[in-house]
Symmetry: C2
Subunit: 394 residues, 2 copies
């Protein structure tokens, strides 16, 4: 059922044959044009915030044309975008995004958390879908501009933040299975709170018949098409009474991710030297999460061990449902943690697998998860300085 | 890096808890509202048609709202669509489409080719991404309306047609990794010609490090996110001098699809009883193509064997690059065919694999491919009646 153009060579501009890359305009934050909203929206009471439903007054937009390059980016009122219905973003899924948060510190300054990691991932995601190249450092400048402009939207309360969503979509206005030589970058800002009022544990259903990611696929990139295939399994899990899915991979039922988050287990060691902190390796089927990398870095830092009151042995390695069952039966499975930008660190209390529930001990977040969450929030909210992870805006 | 909402239960309307399915309006072709373009575009000379670049005067649009159901569908001038930038279609890739063609027969009637197969697949694709349910029979009524309205856009010349692109996109206007409870259906019409003036053979680069589809994924559905991950490998193949990719799967290098098309090989049999027509089985990693199914059906029909002048033994089975190399070295590999709605049937002349080229004999399409192409075009263009495959519009 191929499109006819699927036989064609790359379109002009795709391989630099219509215009040399050097003649195309680069994305340039210094060219930012600002069109402010005529009236500003009232801030919403923080109790009524629901994730991703409220947006600030403005967004930033820039477009890529294969003959011109990147347009001057523009701050404009947050609002709808208008596109040709034949655009690749609708037809062939050539869309990528990032999720970041800006926090207001006790010093009144807005901070991003390790935004360079998001930007490098955005560059890789764009390259993986053959979108026009984008300079993440410039995108970060634009993100900082938006944070600065929308500072009144960052809630002052701990655990609240301004969620930022840089998105790049493929806007080639025609059918044909070929890389998009047009693109649009936009950055949205949405005030958001902690997912839990109390840190309520999440139940997971381990699933192996639906597979989120696979070697040679796009599971290691933040591309839009990774997410919608999980919606039907997620609905089925919800109907069975579970909050989310634990994605397994392969005949040996390797544990990969939970929902759209990374997943860690805390395992008591036989030698009595603290605990193992285990998560799946970055083999292309796992999203390289910023919070994941941060927890692994903290876990290998003796200074953090003191704060955590336990020695942690971080391990990125393949582990399976059989391992989890064994650790559980031996009483070594101490904590199971969901890790991601939105949740930061959250507890899992049970895993449904083949008709049985593996129950995680305790009634909420355990000591390791609690220590991670506290430390990362302290850094994000500017109460602690730590290795330059908190980046002040602008 | 999960969204906070990825922990949440399905949104209202997702599981029918906000409004019972029976209270929602069904898509209804009899409610079609028609707003005609004020001026009609001039028809383009057929020599200048490029696939998917020219569109007819009108499109059909309908929207799904979780509280109301489907809106009355509307014929309106072909043009841009306006959406919230937080919509799922941009963020989470919840988009599906179909490709179909309307042909003008010698009797002056417009015909679709087995459109019921496209509509069942559209229903399955929507269900796979947890999009709101859609009745393919009603979509087909709308497609027929559009074909009837745009009949002047169907070129009269053999091999030319009006390509139709029913598309369903996820329009939930908010972030959060959850099924979209809003959707938009639109149907575009684009006049198109044969890909080749002469049936120029296509070269393929066999690729196993990038994997198009995998068990438990969406390769058996026509979802937008299946396509963009192939753009980078396609560009690399083009830089190596190949027109398209032959997607392999698994350690044993199973042959699956070519570009965005199904793939067949014609193999001389040892028993002298004609040829085997071999294609990969529908195991979830292969798109169930309409042209694929039609070739398989023709290949098992003795009446077609007479037209083809050879006895065909159709086989849907796993076969590998090792098999292709063996068949080639034994002189049994007679033809390799690309099969899809856009190309119909096209020849492959070589397959690059591990630094060597496997050369397919002959200088163009072989006798089996030629017979398939002629028969299917005869049915599509209304010169032959065959099992009800040609469906007159309206």
């Amino acid at each position: 059922m191929g499109d006819k153009d699927s036989l064609a060579s790359p379109a002009p501009g795709q391989t630099g044959d219509s215009a040399s890359p050097t003649s195309l305009a680069a994305l340039d934050a210094t060219k930012l044009n600002i069109t402010l909203a005529k009236t500003l929206k009232p801030l919403q009471p923080i109790e009524t915030l629901r994730f991703g439903q409220t947006f600030s007054d403005h967004m930033i937009v820039a477009t890529f044309d294969p003959e011109i390059g990147w347009s001057a980016p523009e701050v404009k009122p947050h609002g709808p975008i208008t596109l040709d219905p034949a655009c690749s973003c609708f037809q062939y899924g050539g869309n990528v995004f990032e999720g970041m948060k800006a926090y207001l510190g006790p010093d009144g300054k807005a901070r991003l958390f390790r935004p360079d990691m998001n930007m490098r991932r955005l560059e890789r995601s764009c390259a993986r879908l053959a979108l026009p190249p984008i300079d993440g450092d410039v995108v970060l400048e634009l993100v900082k501009c938006l944070v600065d402009l929308e500072k009144r939207w960052i809630p002052k309360e701990s655990g609240y933040s301004l969620y930022l969503r840089p998105t790049v979509i493929a806007t080639r206005p025609g059918l044909g299975v070929i890389a998009s030589d047009h693109a649009m970058l936009y950055i949205l800002a949405s005030p958001t709170g902690p997912y839990y009022e109390v840190l309520k544990p999440v139940s997971l259903l381990a699933v192996s018949d639906n597979v989120r990611a696979w070697p040679g696929g796009t599971g290691g990139h933040k591309v839009a098409g990774n997410y919608s295939p999980g919606f039907l399994p997620q609905r089925i899990a919800a109907e069975k009474g579970y909050n989310q899915i634990l994605w397994l991979f392969g005949d040996d039922r390797r544990v990969t991710e939970a929902g759209a988050m990374n997943f860690f287990v805390v395992i008591k060691r036989d030698d009595g030297d603290g605990v193992d902190l285990i998560t799946a390796p970055l083999d292309g089927t796992i999203l390289p999460g910023v919070t994941r990398a941060s927890c692994l870095a903290l876990a290998s830092d003796p200074e953090f061990h003191k704060e955590c009151c336990v020695r942690l042995h971080p391990q990125e390695k393949v582990y399976t449902m059989s391992d989890i069952i064994k650790w559980s039966s031996e009483g070594k499975l101490l904590e199971a943690l969901l890790i991601g930008t939105a949740v930061i660190v959250g507890p899992c209390n049970k895993i449904g697998y083949e008709g049985e529930d593996i129950v995680i001990p305790g009634t909420g977040m355990g000591p390791v998860g609690t220590a991670f969450r506290k430390k990362i929030l302290d850094i994000q909210e500017g109460r602690t300085e730590w290795k330059g992870w908190g980046v002040v805006c602008p």
